[in-house]
């Protein structure tokens, strides 16, 4: 196995995913397979090759800095599980 259970636990924490014990066991096995599979890239000769950032050779487009959106807060918050007075509710962060 190219990944250990501790490594997978660390990755899951970074990704903010809570997994069951069963899922951890399966993830160690399957993620190791995937990592082994993509490891074949290390054999490619990429000296002097520039990493590709965009499929087409174009620069990021800019737009004038003007307000184009209207305020739709109430409409958008209809999809939230918990809101109050236009604010999103989450568990207490500061004691």
């Amino acid at each position: 196995m190219s990944l250990s259970k501790d490594q997978v636990k660390h990755i899951a924490m970074l990704a903010r995913l809570k997994l069951t014990e069963e899922e951890y066991a399966e993830s160690v096995q399957k993620l190791s397979k995937i990592v082994d599979f993509v490891d074949q890239l290390s054999q490619a000769d990429t000296r002097d090759v520039v990493p590709m950032a965009h499929p087409l050779d174009v620069a990021q487009r800019l737009r004038p800095d003007v307000v184009t959106e209207t305020n739709e807060r109430d409409h958008l918050q209809q999809n939230a599980a918990a809101v109050s007075d236009g604010l999103y509710l989450v568990p207490k962060v500061i004691e």
């Binding site: 995913l17 599979f37 499929p55």
Partner: protein
């Protein structure tokens, strides 16, 4: 199942447009007939997540009114289906995930808006692999889709619902998205036509993101002519998509009837190596011979880094996915865990419960390749290899107009057959992934059968050469009947 106007469901969009224009039937009648068919037959396939009957009938009535007063766009009154990855205002938009099972989109994707403005009638939202991550439609929270040609088989994925619905004659056309083959592979496995345009050709605004440098919207139809009609409406610059390309949209339908005499068709030797089913290879070679009989000239081309395309993809796509899917936090929209202990618990449990296995696996793969100490070895390396792959295509297209080969390594496989081994599943996209990495347009068209299951011919062209793909496909379809074959249970 027949209706008072004969088999309306079996007709192409172009044929239906003529019927509506000559007043043989109304859009409301056409819509009612297809909704009836979906109601009667979709239990066999599970191609839909949501059927929007009321909205469809209202849109059809508006289309009939527009027609009566001499107005209406190029798709006026014509039925389509949207993959459930496209945000549709006021309609549940799930992306095949429990995470978005309760999400009512507050806005329309540009693709949805453009097709609606052209008068299209949306019958519903099609089933798909969760967040478009899968090649078999088995990762959907709403259950797998069955292949109309053999209900025990997968229709492919991730646009499996769209492909199955078009193959089963529920509608003449459906939208799809393609990050590594998600339009072309299901089109091949269901005997339909699928086109993924050049990266940036169709707006990604309102299309739920998987891997932003690879994702592109396209269509699944039964004829190249219908694909040209729809693509003409969908394509074009959009201010709201930062990678949209500002280039005029050609009249895709205008050049379909031009001959392909002298068209230079590249053949890649490695495409016919041991990885390809031997009988599929025969069908694909026959299709290439047909193109030659129409005047095309075949030329051997080399894509030396082809073997590295799948591993490159499985670094780049998960990396972008892990970043894109970080927006699902259980706070603003989407699934939220019950009774969280603290904020961390809210994030981790909402995501742990809301995402399925394959999505979690890809998020974790992406998180790993982007994490401290691994970024250079995996992500940066993959982006360099991606450049090599793109350069291989560039060299090839200096000599040829299209590259022709198989779309998928085999015909449709059985549901459950590959679901346990991610690598075998990933290798299903070996022939299609290169076009995504290089941002090129690609298209699959039906080219025969193996054991009564359809086989697809894959065509790739240079950036913005969709016209060439559509013309080559249309000319092929003028001389073959494979696209007219209808699965027995759906005749």
């Amino acid at each position: 199942m027949s209706d008072s106007h004969g088999k309306l469901y079996a007709q192409s969009m172009t044929e239906l447009a003529a019927g509506l224009d000559s007043g043989d039937y109304s859009s409301v009648e056409l819509t009612e007939s297809l909704l009836g068919r979906i109601g009667a037959l979709d239990a066999k396939l599970n191609a839909f997540i949501t059927v929007t009957a009321d909205e469809a009938l209202a849109a059809a009535a508006r289309a009939d009114q527009a027609r009566a007063s001499g107005k209406g766009g190029v798709l006026n009154g014509l039925p389509i289906i949207h993959k459930d990855i496209f945000c549709t205002r006021g309609v549940k938009t799930t992306c095949g995930s429990k995470m978005l099972d309760n999400f009512i989109s507050p806005y329309d994707a540009t693709v949805v808006e453009k097709l609606a403005n052209a008068g299209a009638v949306v019958l519903g939202k099609s089933n798909m692999d969760e967040f478009a991550m899968g090649s078999s439609n088995e990762t959907s929270y709403f259950g797998p889709v069955c292949n109309p040609w053999d209900l025990a088989c997968s229709p492919g994925g991730s646009s499996g619902g769209s492909a199955a619905a078009v193959a089963a004659r529920f509608a003449p056309a459906a939208t799809g998205t393609d990050t590594g083959g998600s339009i072309r592979q299901p089109a091949a496995l269901t005997g339909t036509v699928g086109i993924k345009p050049t990266y940036g050709r169709v707006s990604r605004y309102g299309m739920i993101a998987f891997a932003s440098s690879l994702d592109q919207a396209g269509v699944i139809t039964r004829t190249a002519e219908d694909a040209a009609r729809l693509l003409g409406v969908m394509a074009g610059f959009d201010q709201r998509d930062s990678t949209s390309i500002d280039q005029p949209v050609p009249d895709y339908g205008g050049s379909l009837n031009q001959s392909i005499k002298g068209l230079r068709v590249g053949i890649v030797r490695q495409h016919f190596d041991a990885g390809l089913d031997a009988q599929c290879a025969v069908r694909v070679k026959e299709a290439i011979a047909t193109l030659e009989s129409l005047g095309a000239i075949t030329v051997e081309v080399d894509l030396p880094n082809l073997d590295l395309s799948v591993p490159t993809y499985y670094v780049v796509a998960p990396a972008e996915c892990s970043s894109n899917l970080s927006r699902f936090d259980g706070v603003r929209f989407g699934h939220r865990a019950e009774k969280p202990e603290d904020l961390m618990d809210l994030y981790c449990r909402s995501r742990g419960e809301g995402f399925g296995d394959e999505v979690k696996r890809r998020i974790m793969t992406g998180t790993y390749v982007l994490s401290a100490g691994y970024y250079d070895a995996y992500y940066l390396k993959a982006q360099k290899v991606r450049h090599l792959i793109a350069d291989d295509f560039k060299k090839a297209f200096a000599d040829v107009d299209v590259i022709a080969g198989p779309t998928a390594p085999s015909p449709a496989f059985r549901l459950g057959e590959k679901v346990d081994d991610p690598i075998t599943m990933y290798l299903n996209d070996i022939y299609t992934i290169g076009a995504n990495l290089a941002g090129l347009p690609g298209m699959s068209i039906p080219c025969g059968f193996v054991n009564d299951l359809p086989v697809g011919l894959h065509l790739v062209a240079a950036h913005f050469a969709e016209e060439t793909l559509l013309r080559c496909s249309h000319q092929y379809q003028q001389h073959t009947d494979w696209h007219k074959a209808c699965p027995e249970d759906f005749q």
